[in-house]
């Protein structure tokens, strides 16, 4: 009895995760430990690992045979496990019982998806790499996913974003524009910009952004440095370098990334009428696009009065302050600050073939050839403006540190570009412009062809996906992630400038196309330096005094959380978190549920949700004496009104 109780106490205060392959344990003599691919925490005694894996895997197999369906959730008295079963593999992730089921299951799916993103199909990766290598990676991914700053972050498994309320909205705009500029290279699918492990701007779906962020979050949340990944070297003390990593995308992720073909076609062409893109958007619309309509129309107002509600995470090119104002400059707007800013930015995104060929001697000829027709454009706009200059200054300051750093990694792109190139950009030949356009047109044509074909084959799949029950966290469908065959290799390109990282998902050809790399590098370098300098100077903002209330606002589309709950929850905060867990779980089970008030003896929490958001609110202060009997005067029922008033200043609109 005693030892039993002890092991139990030991075992269940921790969170377990394991990957087990039952095909390795089939005969009598086979050891259970041979089937254990990874077990976390790694210091768990082997016999206990064997016990858990053996029992859980066995019982799951038995149940799934009886129901002819894999087990999804397994509950024990003091803990519970989210389970995924595929072929002979079983993944299981445990937590204490009061975490909502949905959160736990999402977490496991994300974890598996993350592993597949960097390592490809599971079986294959275990053939290529040793268990020890992969164990380090599992540990890192686990750490990444559980690294939310509060318990709430883990419950909603949301992205960590920079605090937009303390940041000049212009910087967000700038980040979005950098990303757009990068996309002008047809090999670039989508990108995001991170600062100190937090998202500044992204064009990817939240799920993808989450994957891309792994190394960043780690560095800034844990101060945890591991360079185990053979394909990339992500952590380094250098202030600026670029790296490429092989990654694997699911077909649907890839489809979403490629599904703005028309917009891409116009990327470098100002002459096209803007009506067509907007039409195509509807055709290629994905769930993540849906709610951005509002954001988009208000995007312009952003400049005049920075609204508190503006989200920092445009989830698609369209919402990242779409090309619209740029490509269809209405005469009345040409001189608005926004417009001029856009125009100014564009020059930085243009790579300079000339300088590049000099610095990269060996490739000179090839590069010259390929770049001859590249998009080279001189922006002669006289109002190149103060913005440009200030950036230039910052860049200059950074030059010293931006040195060539060749890392051991084979894929590492040595970077010898100096920031003064940006200034040289100003001297460009106008006549190249036409050629450039042609070239891009051609490329896009080819691209469009591909996507159309793909669209045809995928159309059914996507229809199905859209009809599927709406999943707020954008979790990839499990079969896609678990499927060994369906993953498509792709490349993740990262450009780091101190705390700032530009991460781009690019087509595999990007590797072999130095011109594209140069183009992207050049176009973003200076702007990144500038952005980094600005962010460094503005952060961290001091949080305002917390009001007499606690709230959490979860954006299901962008997968972000705004809350004034701080790290350690105690007292009313704990009550708030507890109620939020229950309500979130309830909301996720019942689609029609719109709002709820729950009250126990000491606290009342109001929760409301729409398709795009979930908001929770608790009014602090001395609880008014009440009996709990139905009473219209009861203060709990005034919560919705209070929430509407109070949260406005946090940019949460509940009307």
């Amino acid at each position: 009895m005693q030892p039993m109780a002890e092991t139990a106490a030991l075992a269940y205060s921790r969170r377990f995760f394991f990957l087990y392959d039952s095909s390795k344990v089939q005969e009598e003599g086979d050891l259970t430990r041979d089937g254990i691919y990874y077990f976390s925490p790694e210091d768990t005694p082997v016999d206990q690992q064997e016990l858990l894996c053996g029992q859980l895997a066995g019982v799951c197999r038995c149940v799934s045979e009886m129901s002819s369906s894999p087990v999804r959730l397994l509950r024990l008295r003091k803990s519970k496990y989210a389970v995924r079963m595929k072929d002979s593999f079983i993944w299981a992730l445990s937590c204490v019982v009061d975490i909502p089921d949905v959160s736990l299951c999402d977490l496991l799916d994300q974890l598996i998806a993350l592993f597949c993103f960097y390592n490809g199909p599971v079986r294959q990766s275990y053939q290529l790499y040793s268990k020890e290598d992969l164990a380090l990676r599992w540990a890192r991914y686990l750490c990444h996913l559980q690294g939310g700053s509060t318990e709430l972050h883990n419950i909603f498994s949301c992205l960590r974003t920079i605090d937009s309320t303390h940041i000049d909205p212009l910087l967000l705009l700038k980040a979005a524009l950098i990303l757009q500029a990068c996309q002008r290279c047809p090999l670039v699918l989508a990108g995001c910009i991170l600062y100190r492990g937090r998202v500044v701007s992204t064009q990817m779906t939240p799920a993808l952004t989450m994957k891309v962020m792994v190394y960043e979050t780690q560095m800034y949340s844990q101060d945890f440095r591991v360079t185990a990944n053979g394909l990339s070297s992500s952590v380094c003390s250098l202030s600026s370098f670029t790296a490429t990593t092989q990654v694997f995308l699911t077909p649907s992720e890839l489809y979403v990334l490629r599904c703005h073909p028309v917009e891409r076609a116009y990327r470098s062409q100002c002459s096209q009428p803007p009506c067509q893109p907007s039409k195509s958007r509807l055709l290629s619309r994905t769930l993540s696009d849906t709610p951005t309509t509002d954001t988009d129309s208000s995007g312009l107002d952003l400049m005049q009065c920075p609204p508190a509600s503006y989200q920092t995470l445009p989830s698609s090119p369209r919402s990242s302050l779409s090309d619209e104002p740029y490509f269809s400059p209405s005469p009345s707007r040409v001189n608005t600050p926004l417009h001029s800013n856009l125009m100014n930015q564009s020059e930085y995104f243009t790579p300079d073939s000339h300088d590049h060929s000099i610095s990269n001697g060996t490739n000179l000829c090839a590069v010259k050839e390929s770049l001859a027709g590249l998009n080279i454009k001189q922006d002669t706009d006289a109002s190149s403006g103060s913005e440009t200059k200030s950036e230039g200054v910052n860049s200059d300051q950074d030059i010293q540190s931006d040195e060539i750093k060749a890392l051991a990694n084979g894929y590492e792109q040595s970077n010898s570009l100096d920031n003064h190139l940006d200034h040289d950009n100003q001297i460009e030949n106008e006549e190249n412009k036409l050629d450039a356009n042609n070239h891009v047109m051609c490329k896009n044509g080819k691209f469009q062809g591909e996507t159309e074909e793909e669209a045809r084959t995928k159309s059914k799949q996507v229809e199905g996906r859209l009809e599927e029950k709406y999943e707020p966290t954008n979790t990839p469908s499990p079969h896609e992630t678990l499927g060994d065959t369906s993953l498509v290799p792709s490349v993740l390109y990262q450009h780091r400038v101190r705390g700032l990282v530009l991460a781009l998902l690019v087509e595999p050809e990007f590797h072999t196309d130095p011109s594209a790399r140069e183009e992207v590098h050049h176009s973003s370098m200076a702007s990144l330096n500038g952005l980094e300098a600005h962010l460094r100077n503005t952060l961290p903002g001091t949080p305002g005094p917390p009001g007499p209330y606690t709230f959490a606002h979860y954006d299901c589309i962008q997968n972000t959380l705004t809350t004034n709950v701080c790290g350690h929850s105690a007292g009313p905060q704990e009550a708030f978190v507890r109620a939020t867990k229950l309500l979130h779980s309830h909301f996720s089970h019942l689609d029609t549920l719109q709002e709820a008030i729950v009250r126990n003896g000491s606290s009342a929490v109001y929760g409301t949700r729409s398709t795009a958001q979930e908001t929770y609110f608790l009014q602090r202060g001395t609880p008014v004496r009440n009996s709990g009997s139905p009473d219209p005067q009861d203060s709990a029922f005034s919560l919705p009104r209070k929430a509407r008033q109070r949260l406005l200043k946090h940019g949460v609109n509940l009307l």
Binding site: G58, V59, S627, G628, S629, D634
Partner: protein
């Protein structure tokens, strides 16, 4: 696709119930041959094989980690819920989406409650319970399992259709005058007469009540009776419903009324009136007029509601009811007055005091076992109990008395000698871990004695004389003759929403529960009734019903986590749930923080492990000067009604409904 099974630690299935779909699935998977006669054992084997790995894994987890599974769910939404009671593992499965995890857990607890009602303290000993649940004799086993299965199905039917089983509180027929008259009648005439009759064979009527379908018309407890808890009353209603099912799922009201209103002649012959439903139950019953309409008989056969014939119709049921000290054996007499209306008598049986003393020592041994397991030895093992010597001599005396009675006590005596030798003699081990086996053996033997005294199949011919039962039946029939039709209609439309609509526009439904006495009031929801209710027929009423059922489930889930007030806006509806405490005069007491219970605790309700009784006890600790009452209100409103009106409604409704519950029950 549903299944429930009970297994012991050696992975032996003690009982199982499956619906046909599950059976087919299993047979499909295992390709069980469908040969006549051989089918049943083969199916049982495949059930055994199917669940064995899960059962074995469960005990491994318990042994090695002190953990146990509580549920599995699969991607196609099959749910498996597991719960361990002592040595028995209960597993409930659902694969058709009809039941949630919580429903399955509740079903398991109800199954446990039913075994407690049927076997009493025998459930404390795993080996004896195994014998009870799985008799060696195949025929006996089939009969018992059939009974248990039918009880489970009856419960599921009630849970699905009856609001009183939804909230697990007894619903009373709202007719104060009649109710009062009946109580008086039960007290002054019926119970008094029986208890003063010489032919009662030493039994004494403690409780008597009249049920109209599942609703309570009148309830009387004699002065020296202990309290009948709501959980027991609800379980007894399941038993009665199982014997005389109300055909909830059929459009039967009018038919029933027609037939019963036809000939007065039916009631003229002595000893009792004809009964279509009771006839088939008790076809050889002497007090019942032998009227078997062949058509009716056939129709009902085809409905498969036929019960196994009860060997002796005047034989009571042995039920074990909760009392302060231990589960007390009672005899239950179900006397069908008319179809749908039943008189129930609960009597105290001779020797029932033995139960108290057996129970006392059982508890002592359970405590001792626990302390020995925890590693306490010597005097520490007996801490918290009266002096060892005193207990020892008491038990000696008892065993001698029992030996003089008509039961087998040799095994108990052997066990006791063995225990004494080990515990008290010098050569023995004293109070150490080595005493555990003897201690367990004593437990089993005490349970065995209890069983011999009280188990159903040991009852022999102990009962109220048949003519006394007949007399009781006819007396009440006479009394209620004029009310019969009214009562049957009233039970379907106890109170109706119509009478509330004007005062509470926008209110769709409500349920008001007084948890202190376990009673509820709610407008009738006649989903299948031929008559059009104010909700309209069929689909609409069914829709509202679904909403109400989900509201109660939701509210109970929040209550389990400590939330006593919940409002929800769901689609076009607005739901409210309130739980509050009052003192006797109706003064509303302050809210307290209700402790949140873990997920694997007993379900919120009264039928099993009475949650509300514990809640009241918890609250009373903080209000020791008051008699604390606990109330609940569930409401469903149209979502378009402004919140402040809805809350006003709720508060007015609570005030309005407060009155009827004041009607004295006794």
């Amino acid at each position: 696709m549903k299944c429930l099974l009970v297994a012991n630690e050696s992975a032996e299935v003690l009982f199982y119930w499956t619906d046909t779909e599950f059976e087919q699935r299993v047979q499909g998977q295992y390709g069980v041959s469908q040969e006549e006669g051989e089918r049943l054992p083969a199916f049982e084997d495949s059930i055994n094989t199917l669940f064995a790995p899960i059962i074995i894994s469960c005990s491994t987890m318990v042994d090695r980690l002190g953990e146990n599974y509580t549920s599995f769910s699969t991607e196609n939404n099959h749910i498996y819920v597991l719960h361990q009671f002592e040595e028995c593992l209960y597993i409930a499965v659902n694969g058709d989406g009809d039941e949630t995890e919580e429903d399955l857990k509740r079903k398991i607890f109800v199954m446990k409650k039913l075994t407690e009602i049927m076997f009493g303290m025998v459930t404390l000993s795993g080996s004896l319970l195994r014998k009870e649940l799985r008799p060696q004799d195949t025929e006996q086993r089939n009969r018992l399992w059939k009974k248990l299965r039918s009880l489970l199905e009856t419960y599921s039917r009630l849970r699905e259709n009856d609001q009183s089983f939804l909230v697990e509180a007894v619903e009373r027929l709202i007719h104060p005058t009649l109710c009062e008259q009946c109580i008086e009648f039960l007290e002054r005439r019926l119970v008094q007469q029986i208890n003063s009759n010489m032919d009662r064979m030493g039994e004494e009527v403690l409780h008597a009540f009249i049920l109209v379908h599942t609703k309570l018309l009148a309830f009387y407890s004699s002065r020296n009776a202990s309290n009948l808890y709501s959980s027991d009353l609800l379980a007894l209603i399941i038993l009665v419903q199982d014997l005389y099912p109300s055909k909830i799922n059929l459009d039967d009201t009018s038919e029933e009324l027609e037939s019963s209103s036809v000939p007065e002649a039916f009631y003229t012959p002595e000893p009792s009136p004809p009964e279509r439903e009771s006839v088939r139950q008790r076809s050889d019953s002497p007090p019942v007029f032998q009227f078997v309409d062949p058509d009716v008989q056939m129709a009902e056969d085809s409905l498969q509601t036929l019960e196994a014939p009860i060997p002796d119709p005047s034989a009571p049921y042995r039920v074990f009811l909760e009392a302060k000290e231990c589960p007390m054996p009672h005899s239950m007499y179900c006397l069908p007055l008319w179809p749908g209306i039943t008189l129930v008598l609960l009597t105290k049986i001779p020797n029932s005091h033995v139960a108290t003393s057996v129970c006392y020592f059982l508890e002592a041994f359970v405590k001792l076992e626990k302390r020995l397991c925890e590693g306490h030895e010597g005097a520490a093992a007996m801490r918290g109990q009266p002096s060892v010597q005193e207990q020892r001599s008491r038990l000696e005396k008892l065993i001698k008395t029992w030996a003089g009675m008509d039961i087998q006590t040799s095994q108990l005596q052997n066990a006791w000698t063995d225990f004494k030798n080990k515990a008290f003699s010098r050569s023995g081990s004293g109070f150490t871990r080595d005493l555990l086996p003897s201690c367990r053996n004593m437990k089993t033997q005490l349970c065995g004695v209890y069983r011999q005294f009280f188990a159903a199949d040991c009852m022999g011919s102990q009962r109220l004389a048949p003519h006394l039962q007949e007399r009781a039946l006819s007396m009440v029939q006479e009394k209620l003759m004029d009310w019969k039709d009214f009562l049957l209609v009233k039970s379907k439309r106890n109170i109706t929403m119509v009478s509330y609509l004007e005062e509470f526009p926008g209110l769709i439904h409500f349920i008001y529960v007084d948890r202190s006495n376990g009673q509820m009031i709610a407008p009738s929801l006649n989903v299948t009734d031929r008559t059009v209710s104010e909700l309209g027929k069929g689909p609409l009423a069914d829709f509202v019903k679904k909403k109400v059922w989900s509201l109660v489930a939701t509210a109970q889930r929040y209550l389990q986590k400590g939330y006593a007030t919940v409002t929800l806006r769901d689609g076009d509806y607005f739901y409210c749930y309130f739980l509050w405490f009052e003192n006797e005069t109706g003064y509303k007491l302050e809210v307290i923080d209700i402790p949140s219970s873990p997920d694997d605790s007993a379900p919120v309700g009264m039928l099993t492990c009475d949650y509300y009784r514990k809640l009241l006890r918890y609250y009373s600790k903080k209000h020791q000067n008051d008699v604390v009452k606990c109330y609940e209100l569930f409401t469903v409103h149209l979502g378009v009604i402004p919140n402040e009106y809805i809350l006003q409604h709720c508060s007015q409704l609570a005030r309005k409904l407060w009155e009827p519950t004041r009607i004295p029950l006794l």
